[in-house]
């Protein structure tokens, strides 16, 4: 298993190098190389997750190691799907190192088998987790696009064009890509949360149990809902939208990590020692 994770990390790392070469030298062959490396890593990654799932008979999100691996998988998956659809070639300079970093952390974490209660290994829990992770991966990419937007906006506003000006795409493309990621993320998050609540109602007889993860997920959802509402109603675009997508992602990170390490609740199994 370890060897596969190392292979995945190698692919993502080389992909990162290729994307940075593309950023600096602006040659399309590096971009294509980066894409191929990320796709190759993704194939290994998918294989490793399926292997684990068949091996244990459950969806592999039992310990922190598996959760991180799945988070990395979701980021790369969303990145690859979007990359084929939008012309934002430069996004790799954010997504590839992010995936590499997540996998490097994952590699350092112990992979001990934790048996969870039956409730949490059902199909509906798995679906709930997969959809939410894909949504959060979209938000992670939206945050990256937001950072790129702020860099490019700064270059144009300050009239000191420098390294990024010629290398980053137009503000319009960055803004609309960020918006696309937010829409995708918000849709997935909404569906994922709905499945969670409905399933909770089915097995525990209540939609809402005040679990900190539930509370923070709801807050995160509201942050993105506000962002989308403002965009549609008042036209929050450009800088404000970029800043908001970065703030929104900070909420995601807290809901993802902070809640598990700082608070108790029924979502905490996988980080319990």
């Amino acid at each position: 298993m370890e060897i596969i994770i190392l292979a995945i990390i190698t692919c993502y790392f080389l992909g990162t190098c290729a994307y940075f070469a593309f950023l600096i030298l602006q040659k399309d062959r590096f971009y294509r190389l980066g894409f191929i490396l990320m796709a190759a890593g993704f194939v290994f990654h998918t294989g490793s997750i399926f292997y684990k799932a068949f091996d244990s008979g459950f969806f592999p999100a039992h310990n922190f190691h598996e959760v991180m691996s799945f988070a990395g998988w979701a980021v790369v998956g969303v990145f690859l799907i979007f990359n084929a659809r939008i012309k934002l070639k430069i996004l790799g300079i954010y997504a590839a190192p992010l995936a590499t970093f997540i996998m490097a952390v994952c590699y350092r974490l112990p992979d001990e088998i934790v048996r969870t209660k039956g409730v949490l290994s059902s199909f509906w829990t798995a679906l709930h987790v997969v959809i939410i992770f894909l949504g959060e991966a979209s938000f992670a990419l939206a945050c990256g696009v937001g950072v790129l937007y702020l860099l490019q906006e700064r270059a144009i506003k300050r009239k000191r064009r420098g390294f990024f000006f010629s290398r980053l795409p137009s503000l319009n493309l960055l803004d609309s890509s960020g918006y696309a990621f937010i829409i995708a993320g918000f849709t997935l998050l909404t569906i994922g949360l709905a499945i969670g609540f409905i399933y909770a109602n089915a097995i525990w007889g209540r939609f809402w149990s005040g679990d900190p993860k539930e509370v923070w997920s709801a807050i995160t959802w509201l942050v993105y809902a506000a962002l989308l509402h403002e965009r549609l109603a008042v036209g929050w675009q450009g800088r404000k939208a970029a800043v908001m997508s970065i703030i929104g992602f900070a909420f995601i990170l807290f809901t993802f990590f902070g809640v598990n390490f700082l608070m108790e609740g029924h979502h905490g199994e996988f980080t319990k020692r």
Binding site: S166, S170, L171, L173, V234, Q237, G238
Partner: protein, 422 residues
């Protein structure tokens, strides 16, 4: 051996008053080339004439006479005394001429380094020369090499990458903000040469909808007609800001025509869609504070000038790389060119024959062990004699008894027949 000769003048050596007198139209070029064909001392010729340069590229046996011919042809064609222009001419021979034409075609010798038109102009000039049948082996090869060098310089260096004119720099910035300028609405306030140039660039980039606001409405209507746009009154500008995307301003007004408060209120109405102000007026028309508002971008003339200066610097840096590519190409071309000389060609043919003969003789002798040393010598002598006899006429022909008119192409064919070059 024919010499490559280049005679010309350009924006660096001659003032525009001289250049405009000497410029050749396409028809004149054809006429001049056919005049050259009649001159004995000019073998091959072509003529490149643009607004910034006139270049005569020739091959000749006698450089001095050819220079005189060119001067007299210019003087006849343009009815100008030779003394009027001869001081402005530069004359390059051989290697220098090759390098010069490579530099010109790669746009490294242009007034604006990296401008793309020159290569097309040289291609046209070459086409006229081939139509007039004044280009031969040497110039054909030289031109093909020229085109490939120019292409390499363009693709492998960044000399053509960024805008080096104010109006074009503004368009590039617009693209960085809006992505595509397709269907973007433009408001032109006031009129001026540079503003009009920018509008033309915009139209070329498919920004179709043009509004014109001018102090005198009549002039506005006239300008709007020019761009298939619409004229508006000066006091309608505030309302227009709700819909337009790009504003180009160049009025002679002493104060700001658009202030920050106006833009701030209109931003809400336009749902924060980006606004790009191009202010080419001095004193400025657009309040620079607008640049601090979200999604509003203001570039004044100095900002644009900085962009252009920076881009020119970039291009000059890239030009160094371009020169290196040109130097490489000069070396390969000259290698081929020098091989066109008679003696090396004759020697090369002889060596090749001798190599083949020696190899075959050795093969045969290996199977004939009963022959004495004397017999072997006799056979070797015979093959040498055969080579001499076979090559006698070709050698004479190449040395000039048979091919007085176009020696270079005869040599070229000979080299191809014997496959002397790889």
């Amino acid at each position: 051996m024919q010499q490559i000769l280049l005679i010309g003048l350009n924006h660096k050596t001659a003032p525009v008053s001289v250049r405009e007198c000497i410029a050749f139209s396409d028809d004149e070029t054809a006429g001049t080339l056919s005049a050259f064909r009649k001159r004995e001392n000019i073998k091959e010729s072509m003529l490149v004439s643009t607004c910034n340069r006139v270049e005569f590229l020739l091959t000749t046996d006698s450089a001095e006479k050819a220079v005189e011919s060119v001067k007299s042809v210019i003087s006849e064609n343009k009815t100008l005394p030779v003394s009027e222009f001869s001081d402005y001419l530069y004359i390059y021979k051989g290697e220098d001429a090759v390098r010069h034409i490579f530099l010109v075609a790669s746009s490294l010798d242009s007034m604006v380094v990296g401008e793309p038109q020159i290569l097309g102009q040289i291609k046209d000039a070459y086409r006229i020369a081939t139509d007039e049948k004044t280009s031969g082996v040497i110039l054909n090869r030289l031109m093909h090499k020229t085109f490939s060098v120019a292409k390499r310089v363009r693709t492998e260096t960044g000399i053509g990458d960024h805008a080096v004119s104010i109006s074009y720099a503004a368009i590039e910035l617009g693209k960085k903000i809006f992505g595509s300028l397709h269907n973007k609405q433009t408001l032109l306030i006031g009129a001026g040469e540079m503003a009009e140039l920018a509008v033309e660039h915009l139209i070329r980039n498919q920004a179709t909808d043009i509004l014109v606001a001018n102090r005198t409405f009549e002039r506005g209507v006239q300008l709007a007609g020019q761009y298939n746009g619409q004229a508006i009154h000066f006091d309608e500008i505030g309302r227009c800001l709700e819909t337009v995307d790009i504003i180009i301003s160049s009025t002679g007004a002493p104060g700001f025509v658009i202030d920050a408060a106006t833009v701030k209120t209109c931003m809400r109405k336009r749902k924060n869609r980006p606004l790009f102000f191009i202010d080419i007026a001095v004193p400025r028309d657009i309040d620079p504070k607008i640049n601090t508002l979200n999604n509003a971008y203001v570039y004044d003339i100095d900002d644009l000038k900085d962009v252009v200066d920076e881009n020119i610097e970039d291009r000059n840096r890239e030009a160094v790389k371009g020169r290196r590519i040109v130097d490489e190409a000069v070396i390969t071309y000259l290698k081929w060119y020098e091989s066109l000389d008679v003696i090396p060609t004759v020697v090369a043919i002889r060596n090749k024959m001798k190599q083949i003969a020696d190899a075959e003789v050795e093969k045969t002798l290996n199977g004939l062990n009963h022959l004495s040393e004397k017999d072997t010598k006799a056979i070797q002598k015979m093959t040498e004699a055969m080579i001499n006899k076979i090559l006698h006429h070709p050698t004479l022909y190449l040395k000039g008894n048979g091919c007085k008119t176009d020696k270079s192409s005869a040599i070229d064919i000979a080299r191809k027949l014997f496959h002397l070059d790889d």
